[in-house]
């Protein structure tokens, strides 16, 4: 019940009274006044998760890779998930972390691109704008203690310039010619840096692909939540291309000779 006499007989907020017949602008507001009124939000935990994303700058643009696995804890639950998503013709985002939050991010970015498209005025959102927008969203969610539990890499090519940047659930951002999330940031990053740093303007697509698949292979051996099925995305002046899923060859024959755990030999 509305206790304030000044609101009686006046146009009311549709969400709380369906029979308002006037525009709502600048009328007394009867809705919840802050987050605590709607119920306290708590930090979550990620449920269905993706692991590392790798990315590097090469001569023609940006190359990014991620495997096709979404884990449910230690269970390798969904093995055909696409963790690289194109945004317009100039940008790809790769996500690790909670996959439902990533799906939400995909839908808000899709809405954003549609809105921009409908303006039809020659302007479009490129990788730098998408990254800035995502940083604002991620940081603001973190500040409400309700994060989108992801680590994202935003890579793109627009107006002749390459763009590669990172943003995560805390709203932390950084940029480099090689980036990796999750286990990749520990295992793959040194390999990427050794191969790429200083050669960003020289590396061909074949060379870049070789470096990335090598890193993915090492990750499959070492990261217990990874898969040997993966996709590679390239963003160049020609636009975005995300490959079909590929598999990689690995040798596990050393496993036959193992006895016990660690130092135990029987």
């Amino acid at each position: 019940m509305d206790h304030f006499p000044t609101n009686w007989g006046r146009p009311r907020n549709d969400a709380f009274d369906a029979y308002g017949t006037y525009p709502i602008a600048q009328r007394p507001y009867n809705g919840p006044k802050d987050t605590f009124e709607t119920g306290v939000q708590r930090t979550q935990q990620p449920i269905v998760t993706g692991t590392s994303v790798l990315a590097l700058k090469y001569k023609d643009g940006i190359m990014m890779a991620a495997d096709n696995l979404a884990s449910y804890g230690s269970l390798a639950r969904f093995k055909d998930v696409e963790r690289l998503h194109s945004v317009g013709n100039n940008t790809v985002i790769g996500a690790g972390g909670d996959m439902s939050d990533f799906q939400y991010i995909q839908s808000i970015l899709d809405s954003l691109m549609i809105e921009e498209f409908t303006a039809q005025d020659g302007h479009s959102l490129g990788p730098s704008e998408i990254h800035e927008y995502l940083s604002q969203v991620m940081y603001s969610r973190r500040s409400k203690m309700d994060p989108l539990w992801n680590s994202l890499i935003v890579g793109g090519f627009k107006d002749g310039k390459r763009f590669l940047s990172y943003v995560d659930l805390l709203g932390t951002t950084y940029s480099s010619s090689t980036l990796a999330t999750g286990y990749g940031s520990y295992i793959a990053q040194p390999l990427l840096r050794k191969a790429v740093e200083g050669y960003e303007d020289v590396l061909t697509e074949e060379q870049a692909e070789k470096i990335i698949t090598e890193c993915l292979k090492v990750l499959f051996y070492r990261d217990a939540r990874s898969l040997n099925k993966y996709q590679i995305a390239t963003i160049t002046a020609k636009g975005v291309h995300i490959s079909e899923s590929r598999s990689m060859e690995t040798t596990w024959s050393f496993a036959e000779g193992i006895r016990g755990y660690g130092s135990q030999t029987q």
Binding site: Y22, P23, A25, A119, D121, G122, H123, L125, S128, E129, H131, E132, Y133, Q136
Partner: protein, 271 residues
């Protein structure tokens, strides 16, 4: 005709299909002192005639900076202008903060046009009583827009609003085809000549009553301007070199205009 019965409510059409309140709002714009806008391939400029209420008073500000790449000149109710320009500034800042890009100028103008339109359709609200000339610079080059309280906005090569602006428009229509290739100094000279047409007899442009707003690389008379040419307002002694380039009038041209008997004051909100 029966204008009076249909003109007190904003939400009532006249039998001729007109909204008289909106048209009266356009009148308020015509009461403000003149502002002229024009553009070339490299620059967009605004020139405005400032009024003062008397010798002891200062001259009314006619230009506002919205962002580095957008500036406006106003004609009409100054208080309404401040509200709308504040809104434009918020929109411009929001684009930089959320997307890390300068707001596309056409979208800024559409935003205030849509905002003004609400006031022409909601019961109990009055239309904004101010018109803008908006200049902007983006990837597609310099732009000039007019915004009016009816909620319409248009893009122009050159335009003028305010009192006796028709005389300025006549000058602009005569010369606009040469504007594209003008240097900044030539463009300002054209603008000053157009603005001079709006003056009443015996009045002249001087460093006190003229404002020049510029977007684009620096002119020969300016120092310390960024290479991208951020919006700046020139007033006072800094515009003397530009005034000196004007061709003197041989005989005082009769200031052609409509309803010259109107009080010579920018409409201010009375306390």
């Amino acid at each position: 005709m029966f204008r009076n019965t249909y003109d007190s409510d904003n939400t009532v059409f006249s039998p001729q299909g007109r909204l008289h309140q909106v048209e009266y709002a356009l009148e308020a714009v015509k009461q403000g002192s003149a502002a002229v806008g024009l553009r070339s391939k490299t620059h967009s400029i605004l020139l405005a005639l400032k009024r003062s209420s008397g010798e002891l008073a200062s001259y009314q500000q006619k230009m506002f900076r919205i962002d580095d790449h957008v500036g406006i000149a106003i004609a009409g109710l100054t208080s309404d202008a401040r509200v709308l320009s504040n809104f434009m500034r918020q929109q411009a800042m929001s684009s930089k903060m959320v997307f890390n890009r300068p707001a596309p100028v056409n979208r800024l103008v559409s935003a205030i046009a849509d905002k003004a339109q609400v006031n022409t359709q909601e019961y109990g609200r009055r239309p904004y009583g101010v018109g803008f000339l908006v200049i902007g610079l983006d990837q597609s080059g310099p732009h000039l827009y007019e915004f009016s309280p009816s909620g319409n906005s248009y893009e122009y090569y050159a335009m003028s609003i305010g009192a006796r602006s028709q005389s300025a428009k006549t000058y602009l229509e005569k010369h606009y085809e040469s504007f594209a290739d003008c240097s900044l100094e030539e463009l300002i000279k054209h603008g000053l000549h157009a603005l001079r047409e709006t003056l009443q007899q015996d009045k002249a442009l001087n460093v006190n009553n003229t404002s020049i707003g510029i977007l684009g690389p620096a002119s020969v008379h300016e120092t310390g301007i960024s290479s991208s040419g951020s919006f700046r307002i020139l007033e006072g002694d800094s515009i003397q070199p530009f005034l000196d380039t004007m061709v003197p009038k041989d005989a005082p041209a009769p200031a052609a205009g409509s309803g010259g008997a109107a009080a010579d004051e920018d409409v201010q909100m009375q306390e």
